[in-house]
Subunit: 565 residues, 2 copies
Amino acid sequence: MSKYVIGLDFGTNSCRALIADIKDGKEIAGNVFSYPSGYEGVVIDPSDPNLARQNPADYLEGIESSIKGALKDALKNAPGFNPLDVIGIGVDTTGSSPMPVDRHNTPLCFKDKFKKNPNAMVWLWKDHTSFKEAAWITDMAAKIRPHYLSKIGGTYSSEWFWSKILHCKNVDAAVFDEAYSFVEICDWIPSVLAGIKETDEIKRSVCAAGHKAMFNSGWNGLPDEEFLDTLSPGLSVLRNRLYDTAYTAEQKMGNLSPEWAKKLGLSGDTVIAVGAFDAHMGAVGAGVTEGALVKIIGTSTCDIMTSPAARELKDIPGVCGIVNGSVMNGYYGIEAGQSAVGDIFLWFINNLVPEKYGSTQAEKFRNLEEEASKLKPGESGLLALDWNNGNRTILVDVRLTGLLLGQTLHTQPHEIYRALIEATAFGALAIIDRIEEYGVKIKEVINCGGLAVKNPLMMQIYADIIGRPMIISKSEQTPALGAAIFAAIAAGAENGGYGSVLDAQKNMTGTGKTYLPAEGNNIVYKKIYSLYRQMHDAFGTEEWNGNMFNVMKELLSIRDEARRN
Amino acid sequence: MSKYVIGLDFGTNSCRALIADIKDGKEIAGNVFSYPSGYEGVVIDPSDPNLARQNPADYLEGIESSIKGALKDALKNAPGFNPLDVIGIGVDTTGSSPMPVDRHNTPLCFKDKFKKNPNAMVWLWKDHTSFKEAAWITDMAAKIRPHYLSKIGGTYSSEWFWSKILHCKNVDAAVFDEAYSFVEICDWIPSVLAGIKETDEIKRSVCAAGHKAMFNSGWNGLPDEEFLDTLSPGLSVLRNRLYDTAYTAEQKMGNLSPEWAKKLGLSGDTVIAVGAFDAHMGAVGAGVTEGALVKIIGTSTCDIMTSPAARELKDIPGVCGIVNGSVMNGYYGIEAGQSAVGDIFLWFINNLVPEKYGSTQAEKFRNLEEEASKLKPGESGLLALDWNNGNRTILVDVRLTGLLLGQTLHTQPHEIYRALIEATAFGALAIIDRIEEYGVKIKEVINCGGLAVKNPLMMQIYADIIGRPMIISKSEQTPALGAAIFAAIAAGAENGGYGSVLDAQKNMTGTGKTYLPAEGNNIVYKKIYSLYRQMHDAFGTEEWNGNMFNVMKELLSIRDEARRN
């Protein structure tokens, strides 16, 4: 008789429940729930493009709707499936997406007085309102606690925990004062499923803690009180109401609460695993191994690698973090990422592609892809920077913007589309180069996320630019599958689960199509990449010094050469 | 009884005949003829975007069609009008647009063996196939004849006479060898009307000669034979078959030939004036005076100023030329220009503006303008370079391309449209700054050409950025009116015409609406202009040295400030 696990994946616009067979990872059912609040699930402010919040009520509705939907399908799809054979639930979410809660684990925005207040909601990962606080935290840490920055790439981001909390304190004292604690949604959602009513009892994820909250066992957990009060007097009151221990996702948060068991029709013995971020669990679902970088490509990307904790690992400037256990026990998890990838293409399609490419978004994508695939590398003469949403790695700077150059009076939308794809590939290569410079070899890239499957042009361009095999993961839902895998481990071998991530991966993950670099294309792209790096360093770093006179001219020469051949 | 003059204006896509009353400049009739050859009148080569040629047969057809059409309308519009009261015809054309001809003034492409050969046609001003030859001429002149560069801004352009002839010699010896001479179309068209059958008898325009062919009385006319043979052995054979005298447009080329008089129904006494370029004649039609820069804004712009020949004038690096008499007798004509203005907007509208802004080009323009006019300076955070077709002044470099930066995931087409308008205004200001640096004051700008009339948003942005009154000329057809004015002078006071340009302008030209700078906008735009100049110098000059880290950040600060207010 089969046993099953559920992976719950909370994305930016929707959440998904996936039911997988423990023995072979077969995904027998999945169901998606789109968040009803805000604009496509994101509470925004027209006067401030930096603001992005979420309503946690959407998650509760989403759990019920997506799990029930998936169970219904599982009963249809898998003969003999019984909801009581579900032995565990794992949860992955976006992050850093913290939320103020009271002592009893209730979000402040569930209280009448804060109901409409975005500051009492979830501060979504892509909220950039706290860019000034991020710079302040970086400056202060560099001055008095430089080691705090060493494991997070040297720069504290506005997307992260303390920036958001500090901004909340700066702009909305009422919310800050009322908050007993701030909880990442990757911790809050499993704690709700496990029926935890005391905020202090939540088992916090080491993935969120280490990558986003400057938590490290090397300095006694979270930043010390003196440092917090230097950031803002009084901030330190929070420290005791946060956590001093953090957990890997192989651990158990608890068992499914009776209320939820009843509501969902699952067993009260169902184990709830500690949560983690989508990228880290996605990497596990994609089959992350040493030497392989896992790239989760969606609206933005997350890049995840592992390196054995037993081996010495240098600090890598610009990456989002190096955290022991953030992907799996016994390995450093290295996280990097690009602030916008699919989002750039969507912005372009939705705003700058006329109807001659089609009347729907899907048609436009298809025709752009068809036309763009006829172009040779360099043929358009265009070069773009992929910074429409800032640069997460390796510059860690949200105050950067998009750039396109090389346009003439003949430049066509599909040429720009290709240049935007190339820009994201160059950004990806900059990350790989940085990690390799610090001694971690990257032989291949395992890709997952919607775009990896849907956009073969993009994957071939990635292979040609990155110069390494681009492998597509077998699962199309690697974060949810990763969450399911952790559920199988948290449930334990004694319940039919697994003893370790590597064991579970062997049975539950696999790879699909592989794109290999075309050598001729790689040679041309190497030239263009050196121009991309020049632009990247000139606009993105204070240290760069020089002249840009060569850029347009070299692109024109490359273009002329491409057109001649 | 009124006397009339005809101005013939040969543009890039069409030609126009304008009939004006000599006494007050009243435009009693006009008629446009679109060239039938090539794509919108331009012979192109899909494999080489630099190539742009014209078929001179289109001009002959255009003369007949447009003059006949205008005469027909004049008979309707002006009671008592008699075609025999036309006392002169003036001609302006694009340039430098040279064409190979035989000894008897016949274009080589009229001969069977060269009929389909673009190299035997007119090398249109915007043909950039000779960019390598231009660089070569600049290098050689800098080495052995530096004074040749002093009057043309320091750089010889690929749009100019010798570059095109040298490229012809390099790529098509058959055409070069067969050519007795090369004639600018501003010389050829009036010579045809005057029935000149010997190429040696053409009176060549000092405007074309001085601005484009390095002709200067200071060094005995055209470049010397030794220099020409240094450019390419054998090139000097042409020198004796070109010209050693050049004429201002107040001079008479001849009288209308009997054949043309008969064909057009005009008097054989009709005086044909020496030709000149559209911009220079347009400046006269717009009422150019000391201290006023005339800007002819169309697909590209030409900027024209005058400075009394009696006053010392320094060489101005980067302008297209300083030529005694090129606008009118007794004044230096200073020419500058932008390689693309309207063309950039057209490119954007035709390629990158979706149908939500309208289904026709006109609707899209109207809606973009409406939305863009709601934006405050700096509010979009965008900055563009206006180099989609290279930079004519002050960089004189066709190997430059467009650039847009500052885009986010929220950037809208109308924001980009405004940024493109602003970019062309910054480019215009760079020209004005350069001319003023060399001692020529510019108090105001007189604008003519289609965009000056049709695009009030653009003109207000120009006033705000340039910080000077933007005056719209009364005539909407200033090049044709200027040509008509020169016809009135060439015909002479004895025939009812005028004795000088200034006399004629007093009666025949005027100004219309004026846009004044809004001080608050000018202050913001000064900040953005300094970033434009930084980009301009970094990408456009070899001398610049520095870092671009500030650019995106300052634009974001300006944007945030604009949104707060």
